[in-house]
Assembly symmetry: C2
């Protein structure tokens, strides 16, 4: 039986519950998929135009990218998570002022012809340095002269590949690209937000369906597998990441893997999980109570919830003033609540991260975040936590869409944040 | 109903069927897991000693690694596939003549303390360049002097990180490490081969259980999901990679993703899939026939099977002479068969790849492989294929263990290679 209780005492006036945004139908219908595909087809030239503006500002003639997510965002070519490790040069791409070149080996040629219509497809099979000079020579700078400066995704391209490309065409200068595409990706188009919301809805429903199976004796591993199965058979094309399911003191491991440990009554059960729908991802953490919660764990739970609400409030106030706070300030708003209660040292990670084609992307909300205002419209997580090694761990994570231009701050994750008691 | 037929006409004398090696029990029992964990604990110091020998030969004082697989192999620290993307510096490691340092952020500290007993654990959170100088200064070269040369996994470390580390300690020379650890990993210990064999057995059983579900009308996606589920609920802790399930002309895409296309009678159905057991992976391709095969597809299937047998024969002959052929020569033995039948252009990929902690690792068997003899004992795939765009695709992939020292050449994948007709 599941028992849901309000987080706060009725007299508590600090409550700042965030409305849950529109709920897309899940699983997505073929119409949705077709609509999202057309939206991408319309958006891709706009995204490329923005990148080319940035290239012009930075005085580079060509952009060379290798990120799985940037490839999909700019060219439409799809690789699964991890597939880039076995795909050789496939999916790597070059953008010049007039052209987009997608590299593939023979295994991926038909796929690229389907997914990258109108783009130039070139063969390359783990041997890009041998082809580099010819490819770069075939491109032209904005004024038609030969290419002199190529921006490279230096945080992803290996040092060895960089050196080999430099040696292959010594008169073409390689420069480290900034987070130009990542900054574009941080600003979400409506069809991107829809897909993240759909992924959230898949995850919400999956956890709801899992609740009756949670009882003392069942293992973390079996619950994680069942939760995954609920998502994969009800609309998720993949997971956003491996399901975390940690019980009791194990919940103090913020990234532990589910094990063969049986769930026991009287402890927490922490789920951190996400779905992927049409390329876009969700991410949610819920800490449930198996059987009657202890007073101490309830207090910790309320503290984490109040910390999360402090972040919601900081964002909502900024949105209502059509303003964007920095990631550092939102992190501080939540962190101060936990630190004031003496648990500052037990909240070791950042408050949140952007999400979209990647599970973790820009913007970052943390002590180390950029001092610049958050971009918008954007989607990110708000996930404060308290971890007491050997004792317990509590985290509440929701995704929000933030758009101060339209005074929008909505939760995309719909599963209740209230104290939820299961297995009793 | 499933109908299995011999590949060859009775008069065909080219048959070179390979014996299937010992079949481990699946799912693995707690005893197996404990035995493999102890074997790793005993082997890790030996692996480190070999790496240190190589470091001495190459005159480097410290090895800096970031590969998920190398971390697990040398330190025991486990990251799931793709987790390194969100793990920051966690799992990166340094090996000096006297010490091993594993970097983790607070999220992974407890895990590292469990998995890396006896190693030095240092905190780092996406800020390694800030800590680099202090960490390197804390280590000593073999003769006790300060560290001067650090070998870096240059094919995995990004150019940006390399530059930042160089700037953080300008008097410490960074040099590109060769495939030193990857070469160690190519030589398999008995407990590693056992785990690959267990992963093969999980995959064999999963496909066997899937067969009754294959019939015209069911989609590629649903079959792929069911095959995955069979593996995940019967011994696989994870997949080696996303299941490929392609029907009819789609089988010509060697790496296509399963879609909503229903399986139709009269075409092929290609499965490429693998399981992971205790960190180690399997990889197998079977091309089944849905309903009565056409004469042309049967001929192609036989051609691919004979090509695979030619590779088996080349390896078996070498093994019986306690000799190791090169990856190029084994590839050629199989490729010549396909080329002689006029399909050389329809076999675009390499013949095989090593497998272990990674799905693709050393050694490579291809036209571009190293000219050196294959290492041993080792495990790799033999996977010739013929792809006719828009028409059909056929691939047969088995894993073999090769050890000429003991005249061993065995198949680890046990599912029949014979012509298999399903859904009739």
């Amino acid at each position: 039986m599941t028992d849901t209780r309000p987080i706060h005492q009725p007299a508590n006036d600090r409550s700042a519950e965030l409305p849950v945004g529109p709920r897309p139908a899940v699983p997505p219908m073929p119409d949705d998929l077709a609509r999202w595909a057309s939206a991408d087809a319309v958006a891709r030239p706009v995204r490329l135009a923005r990148l080319r503006e940035r290239m012009a500002q930075e005085a580079v003639d060509v952009y060379f990218g290798v990120s799985r997510e940037n490839t999909r965002y700019l060219t439409g070519f799809v690789l699964a998570e991890g597939e880039e490790k076995v795909a050789g040069d496939s999916g790597r791409f070059l953008v010049s002022p007039a052209e987009v070149v997608v590299l593939v080996d023979s295994r991926y040629r038909e796929q690229a012809e389907e997914e990258c219509r109108g783009l130039r497809i070139e063969e390359s099979y783990y041997d890009l340095p041998d082809r580099w000079e010819a490819i770069v020579r075939s491109l032209r700078a904005a004024d038609g002269r030969p290419v002199r400066r190529v921006a490279v995704e230096a945080t992803l391209v290996s040092h060895a590949l960089w050196q080999a490309l430099q040696a292959a065409a010594p008169d073409v200068e390689l420069v480290a690209a900034g987070s130009w595409v990542e900054e574009l990706r941080a600003v979400k188009e409506p069809a991107e937000i829809e897909r993240i919301a759909a992924a959230c809805a898949v995850a919400d429903e999956a956890l709801t369906r899992l609740l009756p199976s949670i009882r003392p004796g069942v293992t973390e591993h079996d619950l994680a597998l069942q939760l995954e199965w609920e998502m994969r058979t009800h609309g998720a094309e993949a997971l956003a990441f491996d399901v975390t399911c940690l019980s009791g003191p194990r919940a103090a491991l913020p990234h532990g893997s589910p094990g063969d440990r049986p769930v026991t009554a009287g402890g927490v059960l922490l789920f951190d999980f996400g779905a992927q729908v049409a390329g876009y991802r969700s991410d949610m953490t819920r800490t449930l109570f198996v059987g009657e919660p202890s007073r101490r764990e309830l207090e910790l739970y309320r503290l984490v919830a109040v910390s999360q609400e402090a972040a919601f409030r900081a964002l909502a106030e900024a949105a209502s003033e059509h303003d964007a706070p920095t990631g550092v300030s939102v992190d501080a708003a939540a962190r101060d609540v936990i630190a004031a209660a003496g648990h500052g040292d037990h909240f070791g990670h950042g408050l949140g991260h952007g999400i979209g084609l990647a599970t973790h992307e820009m913007p970052s909300l943390s002590r180390r975040a950029l001092p610049a205002p958050l971009p918008w419209p954007t989607v990110f997580s708000i996930e404060p936590g308290i971890y007491l090694p050997g004792e317990t761990g509590i985290r509440i994570e929701d995704l929000v869409v933030f758009d101060p231009e339209s005074d929008t701050l909505e939760r995309l994750t719909g599963f209740p944040r209230e104290v939820t008691v299961v297995g009793s």
